[in-house]
Symmetry: C2
Subunit: 256 residues, 2 copies
């Protein structure tokens, strides 16, 4: 891998603001970049470090990994002004985008039309924390490779399988899903089954709607719809919170 | 209340960016402003509406409440450019800041040195959702009246009692806490008791540390420390997530 080359590397000037249709994206920050280089070294194309990054154990480790996979880190402060809005970002990992099939034997999170990059990142991080590795996103949905999402996930993205589908029906009919024998739990305010009142099946799809609108009523006919009971003093829990609580309960169910 | 007057109202020019030591703060957006006017009409000082706000049922309702409490809404777009960074903000409620005692007979959330306004707002909204009304914040801690917090709380702030203490010891010794017979649950990665392994007492303090550093080890000697078990593939859950999951379990415990 020591002679890794790509068009971007051959043109040192080409650092552009990320767009949804870009073929590469960026891990902003040291922690997500480490995750990228450890989990998908073959997808990493360039690594930028800021001149003001304090050299020490972390930079030694980064340079070591880069050498191992054949990338020469570039000290280019311009990359940071173009790509990062945050002040405390000193390392950027560039990578080629990819898509992975889901594991049909495992539990999935299904996000129907998620619209917020930061929320999606938080969900990815929490999913990894509770041992769910497979995420289906039903279009239209926010771009999982948006640097804001990668950053909010703290690099968890690189440990997960994420796949987009044009509709929930497409997901259900896919090899990725493996619908036979799988339990479906759409989370809805109109649902009757209260989360925690009976154990969740372990091979299941936990399905969540858009931040503002939730799931459409048609999901009341899908599997067994579930509500996370809360007081009527708030309209709803926020989306990552609902997902996190569902995951906690799913994991707890596995021990019952 | 129809002759409500205050210095700010008498000087129409005085709209200033919010600062921590300001005596007034702002509810940005229609939903938080409605909560302010319903829960603390006596604290509301001015209401601004944007000229581009579409008039209809919501504006009728707002004007009605304003009339009832003796405030004349002001159409001043300048207020929005000064106070709000968000584009979708058409109503702003100004209010005098206040402090409330906590209810010592109730469960509390104790946040030790929280540093993020948005996180604090999300925690407030989730607390209200699970029926916890009392929040202690140990200084240094982010300002609960920061408009970013008020907005992230969706106005939940106005249904809660929030009080600052200079130290955890001060909180424990206060009338607000009522330490006798109260259970203390510090949430820590080094804790031994796993959340969900035994029911949480209902009159308790759920204690959480700073976003980056968590609680100091000294909290291992406070009450019964608790860990939300997650995989070692992530460093930690984010703070609002940890609080939300703890609250879910606390509420579940109450039904056991």
């Amino acid at each position: 891998m020591s002679n890794k080359k790509n068009a971007a590397q051959n043109n040192p000037a080409s650092i552009k603001t990320y767009k949804k249709d870009s073929s590469v994206s960026y891990a902003l920050g040291a922690a997500p970049t480490f995750e990228l280089l450890k989990k998908y070294p073959e997808k990493a194309t360039r690594v930028f470090v800021h001149s003001s990054w304090e050299r020490g154990a972390a930079s030694d480790e980064l340079f070591k990994i880069c050498r191992f996979i054949g990338i020469e880190p570039e000290e280019r402060d311009k990359a940071f002004s173009v790509l990062s809005q945050k002040e405390n970002c000193f390392v950027i990992g560039e990578f080629e985008k990819y898509e992975l099939a889901l594991d049909p034997s495992k539990a999935h999170i299904v996000l129907v039309n998620p619209s917020n990059s930061g929320n999606l990142g938080t969900i990815l991080r929490t999913a990894l924390g509770f041992g769910i590795y497979d995420i289906a996103i039903i279009r239209p949905g926010v771009d999982v490779f948006d640097p804001k999402t990668v950053r909010a996930s703290m690099g968890a993205l690189f440990s997960l399988r994420v796949k987009y589908f044009d509709s929930f029906e497409e997901y259900c009919g896919s090899k990725d899903c493996g619908a036979t024998g799988r339990a479906f739990y759409p989370f809805m305010l109109k649902a009757k089954l209260e989360l925690g009142s009976s154990p969740l099946k372990q091979r299941c799809s936990l399905v969540f709607g858009n931040e503002a609108t939730g799931l459409p009523d048609s999901f009341l006919n899908v599997g067994e719809s579930v509500i996370i009971r809360h007081s009527n003093e708030i309209d709803s829990l926020n989306l990552p919170m609902a997902v996190g609580i569902a995951l906690y309960e799913w994991k707890r169910s596995g021990k019952l």
